[in-house]
């Protein structure tokens, strides 16, 4: 039995895969605890989760108009760095109270990696998106330098200044919740393990009017994720219009957190605040989304091709991975209208190569092992085979944990 402390940022998309891995570790008899924002972690990891509270910056909302490099600067300078500083005392208290064998540090919750290295606790990186090793900044070395400068400052405050590795990548284990069938050639460090998506087993109890789905028509799911409510109005309206123009053979379920479609519920368009996404994916023919890593991965895990309109952060990178893999089409979030969205939908629904490509990624995801594979890799960090030297050898196959 080993003890794993998960350090997570206050982002749904980062906590969900961690919760799936944590559940698998618990099932195998290990002890799991969390350091993060209590209410959100409890909601996603379950009421029995052992949660050590961390402070987070009060204002979690980024000015929605920021895109591109401006969004990147804000994310690192005005969000991730203050987040690391705010969370660090809570992470340290959690480590003192729980005494973990391994810290599982989300790649964006830098307090996890830095506290671990300062306290000398082994840590693994949980990379819930693959953008950090996509080489997206390869042509802009000064941006990369700027990020490294910021990380060095955080390390001086929170970490072990004697260490030199990039704290976003544990030297022992980086868990990537994707596969190279989607990422293509990547700049991932050799200690990266591609485990594919890790989905929670907890049933999604979000209510849905299943009788609304028309088996004679294709169902399209439209979602801009949980972090883009302020921006999506125009795009969602254009999506609804594109589907309406094709109502004889299409219908759409639209996740409308901001209520811009005012609860539309007619024969062709159903706008809901929340949808049971995984259950709906089994019935869906296509997904339109912002190219958030989790939505893309969940769609492909169900073999469903996508139309993506990346907004910012890792999304343009994930969108490029998707189109390179052949499993979807990119449209412009800011400029894409009903004609562009409609034409892209027509293509992914009628040209068989998109679905075939989605199925290839689906197969690679299934083969990668998901939460179970992630748990096995974490067990290896908790009981490294090399440390046998301290124990008198008693035979082949020690330490025998599998």
């Amino acid at each position: 039995m080993s003890r794993f402390l998960f350090v997570v940022p206050p982002f749904v998309g980062h906590i969900n895969p961690a919760a799936a891995v944590a559940a698998e570790l618990t099932r195998r008899g290990h002890r799991v605890a969390w350091a993060g924002l209590p209410g959100l972690v409890e909601e996603l990891a379950g009421p029995d989760a052992d949660i050590h509270p961390c402070e987070v910056p009060r204002d979690l909302r980024r000015p929605p108009e920021l895109r591109g490099a401006a969004a990147l600067r804000y994310l690192w300078q005005d969000f991730l760095a203050p987040l690391a500083m705010a969370m660090a005392p809570g992470v340290e208290r959690a480590a003192a109270a729980f005494r973990p064998d391994v810290i599982v540090a989300d790649q964006q919750a830098l307090s996890g990696a830095l506290t671990a290295e300062r306290l000398g606790i082994p840590y693994a990186t949980s990379a819930t998106t693959s953008a950090e090793f996509s080489g997206a900044l390869a042509g802009m070395p000064k941006v990369d330098e700027w990020i490294h400068g910021l990380l060095a400052g955080l390390r001086a405050e929170l970490g072990d200044p004697a260490r030199t590795h990039d704290p976003r990548f544990s030297p022992d284990l980086v868990l990537a919740f994707t596969t190279t069938a989607l990422t293509g050639e990547s700049a991932a460090p050799p200690q990266t393990r591609f485990v594919g998506p890790a989905l929670a087993r907890r049933p999604d109890t979000t209510p849905f009017p299943w009788e609304w789905l028309d088996p004679a028509r294709h169902t399209v799911l439209v979602s801009l994720g949980t972090a883009n409510t302020d921006l999506g109005g125009r795009f969602l309206t254009e999506c609804a219009a594109a589907v309406r123009e094709r109502s004889p053979h299409l219908q759409a379920v639209i996740a409308d957190l901001g209520g811009v479609l005012e609860g539309t519920w007619d024969d062709t368009v159903l706008a809901v605040r929340r949808m049971p996404q995984l259950a709906l994916l089994r019935r869906a023919s296509a997904v339109v989304c912002h190219a958030g890593h989790n939505t893309v991965a969940e769609s492909l895990l169900h073999g469903v091709p996508l139309v993506v309109a990346p907004i910012r952060d890792d999304q343009p990178v994930i969108a490029a991975q998707l189109t390179t893999a052949g499993a979807g089409i990119r449209v412009r979030f800011g400029r894409g209208d009903r004609h562009a969205i409609g034409a892209a939908l027509d293509a992914v629904l009628t040209a068989p190569e998109y679905r075939a490509a989605a199925r290839r990624v689906q197969e690679s995801f299934r083969a990668a092992g998901g939460a179970a594979a992630a748990a096995t890799h974490l067990e290896e960090v908790a009981t490294p085979i090399e440390e046998n030297e301290e124990v008198a050898p008693t035979g082949q196959g020690e330490p025998g944990r599998s």
Binding site: A69, R73, G139, M140, V143, W146, A320, R335, A340
Partner: protein, 106 residues
Amino acid sequence: MTTTPTSDATTPLPGAGENAVLAEVTEALHAVLPEIGLEGTAITMDTRFVEDLDLESIDLVTLTGELGHRYGDRVDFPAFFASLELSEIIGLSVGQVVRHIAGCQG
């Protein structure tokens, strides 16, 4: 009904060399990003890649490749982009790229 196209009087016209480069850059944009729907958008020296054209850094890399094909060794595009600070990438305009190209040719 026919309308006579008028030039955008509010934008300072680039110099002759820059004018040709602007046309070339505009063509390169259309060539590599046909899906962007630029028909209704005049590309001027003031057009910003991110805010006005909805391009991402990943698109700029694609554009760099296309411009590289068009200008060959005369302009070192990777070096130009590599020289940009984060604050310069934010708000990068077509004019900055055009002036750089025109400067290399002059």
